[in-house]
């Protein structure tokens, strides 16, 4: 397996500039959770946030979907807030619905899932906070 490297900042800047819709998998309704803070930050930066969490009907005023494959619109970035062992099925669905970018938040690393996504032509970012990337690069 080739060594994994996050895309360079220039490419991440481009991704952030071109993306409109971010599906946040594992988004919580609890404001003290990182997922809430990050999604709220991104919503305030005018990204379209789509919560993906079977536990809630809506988060941050947006309808929440049980799974990525239930989302009825085009998704640019899938931002994952799930433990590493739950990442592979999310990646499989992301490939199926043809998203452009898989983004695993800080502390979330799954090399085989990352490899699979890359082989399917997706851009993969791991172990990095999407909101911090936006805040520091944009």
């Amino acid at each position: 397996m080739e060594e994994f490297k996050n895309p360079p900042n220039e490419q991440i800047r481009e991704i952030l500039a071109q993306s409109i819709t971010i599906a946040v998998v594992g988004l919580s309704t609890n404001p003290s959770r990182s997922s809430y803070g990050v999604a709220n930050y991104l919503k305030n930066k005018n990204y379209r946030i789509i919560p993906v969490n079977p536990k809630y009907p809506e988060v941050l005023g947006e309808k929440s979907y049980p799974a990525l494959s239930d989302v009825p619109e085009k998704v640019d970035i899938v931002d994952i807030f799930r433990r590493p062992e739950y990442v592979p099925p999310v990646v499989d669905e992301a490939i199926k619905i043809k998203v452009k970018v898989i983004w695993m938040q800080s502390g979330i690393v799954n090399y085989p899932a990352a490899q699979k996504a890359k082989e399917a032509g997706l851009v993969v970012v791991m172990d990095r906070c999407l909101a911090v990337a936006h805040s520091t690069l944009m």
Binding site: R33, Q105, S106
Partner: protein
């Protein structure tokens, strides 16, 4: 009692890089819940080590130049500077003891 210093893109050079004492910098943001868990610990460290260590916070949203320069990818990130260089880095919310150990090692 010493409150944490507010570090910015403008004062980072004078307050951190050129500081006589080692400096603990807490990279944080308003929207980051784990940052709010760490900040009281950082403040306590600031009080406990008031004579030996400068302690301050840098808001990444308002000071992206410095945050980007140091490759901050997640917050909270605590960086310890000595003589202008990063000598240790702690990512995520950590217990006070863990942070104290790191600081003690650097001050030893």
């Amino acid at each position: 009692m010493t409150d944490p210093v507010e570090f910015t893109d403008d004062n980072f050079e004078s307050e951190v890089i050129k500081s006589d004492k080692p400096v603990l910098v807490d990279f944080w943001a308003e929207w980051c819940a784990p940052c709010h868990m760490v900040s009281p610990i950082v403040e306590e460290i600031g009080r406990d080590y008031a004579d030996k260590l400068k302690v301050g916070k840098l808001n990444v949203d308002k000071n992206s130049k410095t945050a980007s320069h140091y490759g901050i990818m997640s917050i909270p990130s605590l960086l310890i500077f000595k003589e202008g260089k990063v000598v240790d880095q702690i990512i995520g919310a950590v217990p006070k003891n863990h942070l104290k150990e790191k600081v003690d090692k650097i001050l030893a």
